[in-house]
Point group: T
Chain length 145, copies 12
């Protein structure tokens, strides 16, 4: 079972800045934890990051061989219909994750354009959101199978 992890814009700065909101783990550390959990769950991971909306659209369009996506769309959560449409167009279930609890933050961050096309959403658990998201992604095809 292959899972694609997509990190959205500015997540390459994780652990370096604004640690009070996003935690002290770097993206590399989170990716390591994800790879270790994937091994436990017998899943294979590909992990990508981009600050470019169009590149993320491309990544999603090219995800046909994956069993599921785990995506943290970050800032594009609230502004990208293109990413939403890409997820809706491919038939692979997408798990939306957020480090911070977006429902506690600015008004405009509480509305996700992605959520209505996502399989489910996990928000607020710091790096644990990614680990829970990976577990969720692995469980979906099992339930369906």
């Amino acid at each position: 079972m292959k899972i694609l992890i997509i990190h959205g814009p500015n997540l390459n700065l994780l652990g370096i800045r604004e640690a009070d909101i996003y935690g002290t783990k770097t993206l590399d550390e989170i990716n390591s934890m994800l790879r270790q959990l994937a091994k436990e769950l017998n899943a294979e991971l590909d992990i990508k990051q981009s600050n470019h909306e169009g590149e993320i659209v491309d990544m999603i369009q090219n995800s046909r061989n994956y069993a599921a996506l785990v995506i943290n769309p970050a800032a594009y959560t609230h502004t990208s219909v293109a990413i939403r449409d890409a997820i809706a167009a491919v038939e692979i279930p997408a798990v939306e994750v957020h480090l911070s609890n977006i429902h506690k933050r600015e008004e405009f961050r509480q509305k996700s354009l992605i959520a209505p096309v996502a399989y489910g959403q996990i928000s607020g658990f710091g790096y644990e959101s990614y680990l829970l998201g990976l577990r969720a992604a692995v469980s979906i095809p099992k339930k369906r199978g």
Copy 2:
């Protein structure tokens, strides 16, 4: 580590009705899965259900000896400031879970009054939402400790 699970209104009907939205597992089956996972995670569970807003407020007020709450506030997610205030008043982290993806449903279901005082929110994975919620609840004190 003791965890309190609170099921909100109408969840006693799970698996019996509207299976297309909420899945085919009964509440007892979900509770069994939760108890089994708790054992794996070395956690102790108490599980309660109520259709009464005031009773849920009472349950939360009496949760001081628990390490965390996992709560599916169901209909009260969208209407209960009293449950929100009870969660804010006690100092125990609360994980909000939903079976269905509330962000895909009616406008009024997309806004949670509980989320701004919850530690995090998990929504849309069917009974798996509860299992992920329990894992999340167990992970919180570890991170803090």
Copy 3:
């Protein structure tokens, strides 16, 4: 054919107070008229009243042996997603009735959270709303049968 009548909060005060809005009939007088009409229509009635949202949810959950509900949700018309969800969860048609014409009153009373899951709504005819509601309730299974 068994019909369940549910009177919501504050309706136990009917005929005693605010007669200019709700009329001079007491709840007992309305119940007598309902029982007499039920006899004419060969229907059997159970009649309940509660000021507690949770109790009304319980009543609806326990209504499986009835052919239909006639419910005046009163104040909970505008605030209770829990009652809405209970009606949606059981498979019995619900007729929503109101003594006053709610569409003439305060802005917040013009929106019913119950109406989208009710079979139909009757509003503004005083105690006659209940009698029309009972007739409507009796007619539904006939049309379906």
Copy 4:
């Protein structure tokens, strides 16, 4: 006791099209049922239909000899201040009826410009809405007399 029934725009197509929303009875069949019920209730009926807002205003202005109106304003429910003003101007109670449950439909259909000047509103019972509306109309003068 004379009652005037007014059918608004497009109701002349009843039973022919969109039967899933409006039912399979034609307007003639509904009119027959209304006439039969009127006989039982010792009421005399006049029945009119128009697709023209101005004609419906004229009908209402000329309704002074009737004890009550039963009106299904159809599309004009949501757009006609002129019909509202005509009902407010004549002193005859008006019962507003709708075949479908307008509170379940598009946002713009959930708001009635007519309801605040109507005696009461009945919505969602198919052709039965008309029969209940006729009963309601007959009951009003009795309560007042």
Copy 5:
């Protein structure tokens, strides 16, 4: 100088009903006062009334030989883009008049679709609104000439 007076829907009932809002003068009495004032001002009047939006559109389209219009669009003030477009299409200045002060009444009556294409608006002086409107209409070409 020829002036066209257009009375909108339900104004044929003036003086007969709802005298507390619209005053006790009948439309005929107001028309007499208008004709007498016209004589004083050396203007020639044509006066029309209709309950039909389309007929009022026709009247306005056919008003090319008039120096100005005085129009009380009544209910169509708030709902008719067609009348607005007709006024915008002909090149004759239109004076909008209202018997009652529409800015004191229901929210929906406070917005006029006609006002942005009218020369000016007079509202709230009872029958005097028409007389002031006629004076205003007569003064416009003078200022321009």
Copy 6:
């Protein structure tokens, strides 16, 4: 019969600036026309102007010996509850006038805080608005007397 004319803020610049919106007459010229018309109508005028909200409140409070007010509140039309309350507190009818058609201008100028406590409103006829307003003011006590 004594009438008080109140000119609001910036009207002292009339005829000097923004003539395309407000016309080419100066405030003195308008006042002369008002005084001449007052003579014809056997009315006595006092005329005041102020750029200060508080001074206009004072003027209105001191208007008890007048039969009516004619007020162009200008910018304060849209922002002054204090002027509204002063008009409501004294018992003298107030005629609200505007040079430009406020319903054609910026959104915020289309809402008058004064109108709901004014006797009536005249808007859009340039200096003629004042003359019509004076006629209206003179006609009110006659109708009442």
Copy 7:
């Protein structure tokens, strides 16, 4: 193949007034171009115009023998639920056309009540909108057939 063209209110004035918005072609000239194009496309045309909402509803109800409608609802685009319901009730595809680009104009003109029941919408190409609309109408049955 028979196509019905319906021109809404005030379009009889085309080419005569407001040429800057609607162009300099008269309705007759547009109709000639439509007839010529119809010939090329082997379609048969009927063309109607009305300023009356009710008449347009009647026209649509009587369009059953046509393969498609091309309708410019003009002012009724934004206010007529009755025309919307008529189009929804008949089973003939309707192509909505506008001379001006309604999305560039006043806020209230940017929302079409007709569009959600139309097959498609063409807006902004002047008389060319009609020609494109006729081509579109002719193409629909071909795609379906």
Copy 8:
């Protein structure tokens, strides 16, 4: 003179948690201060607390022998039409009190559903709000008597 004091949901936790918002006095300490002030004012107190909306409705319905209510509806301030309707139904003046200044807090806490049926509202003075509320309650019947 008998006064009923009603403490709404979560107020039983006063002084124990969130002291920065609600102060350090426990509910028992506040009740003692209220009883002492009542003695000074020659009033008799009954004091109740509940987390259940329905129980608070019951308390209000049973308050007929009291001269006035002092109620802190807490979370139900913003969500309970049932409590509002109960207050409107009984004829006893109700003084609404809040420990914190609700007008400084979250948007949803700034709107009280109770205030429009309360005699008056006191907000923001900590436990002093209750003491002022009791004084206010005692003063009302005196002014009326």
Copy 9:
């Protein structure tokens, strides 16, 4: 302990006009009651009134030697950011009082720009609001001291 009382615009008319809303006491009578209560509470009062927003800003800026303010901003409650900023700038606690229950009145009166910077708000008790406000003002420094 010195307290400053500020009466906002139009309050100089108290007891003379609109007694049904604001009561029959004159401002002088209220001031006498305030002075008498101040004596009981060992407080020294200065009392000012103005119809001018700028003067009220000046008064507040010059209040540094007072222990607290009691202010009824009247109409400026809803429109004055300048008064709000003045209160925020000086460090003296301000008690906002209203004679009428502003939460029962027009929509625009239900929002106070002052409340978010006030210590607390008392609304609806007629002249008693001032007396309660004075008690509140006197109690603040005690609690703090």
Copy 10:
């Protein structure tokens, strides 16, 4: 005459996914049809597709040698001010096309940021929208020339 066709994000997946909304034709098939029609109309086509907002801005900036653009901005229709500004900056008329009828879809898809700077809009005719759009684009310079 050279025309530039721009296909926005996700349109490279046409015909492969979500055929119920967007039809079964692939982008290549549509491009072939466009090229064939261009030949008939004596126009020369360039066709581009991108998932990147910035690339589409670049394409438009570089379109100076074209007589017109035909653009389906897809998801960027609703979110891209940058594309809007690029179209406004170049002086080439842009025809906006949509495969689906965007006015029938989710609320956020009904508003186009592009439309106010487009020459016209064609929506809902499937691949035919492009063909009509090309015809429209070709007709514009003719009308102007």
Copy 11:
């Protein structure tokens, strides 16, 4: 070149209170810096401050001999149409400055009524906003000249 600097309400308290928002410089210190910069730029300054809206209107009306205004309207930024109209009426360019970044503060402070009639706006640089504003003011006539 003469420039008029206008400081709005409460700015006389600068440097004394709320230094965390507005900085520690007093108004006198800012004025000194302005005068020094003016000397460098060969400009002549007049500097005024008022807490009164009407006085600021007067100042602007009397500014005809100045080349430009630099105005910090402070609280009146958000509430004064009178100051807006005064700026629009005189023909002198106005530079709007703010010490704090108003776009970061309360919702109501993010909207400026003045900005649409100002030449430009500078916000958030503390006392530097004034110095930049003076430079901007001096540069305007140069660009125009």
Copy 12:
């Protein structure tokens, strides 16, 4: 001191098109003026332009060695949360500049997503906005240092 200047989308067209809104200077000319001013201020400049949101995010992430940013986000001002988050993530103060006065333009241009994370905003002075912005940027570290 090193300063980074970022020009957003479409600014490469400056001086070439829409000179009435954005002025006649080309981007090169503005950059020359900026470099000359930088020399005067002893600052070192890097200047970049991009039409791609993601590239601008990258530029900001790579700005750690600069003392400040001056950014004209152009169209992305109103739509890019990604740029906002990038600015918030790096610790370098950002000065937001706009050529046109965005507060005078379309509603959607009046709201900046960037402003709440910018140090300050300068809008409306044409190319002068950049020069003022550079001065502001240079002054920030001085004040802090």
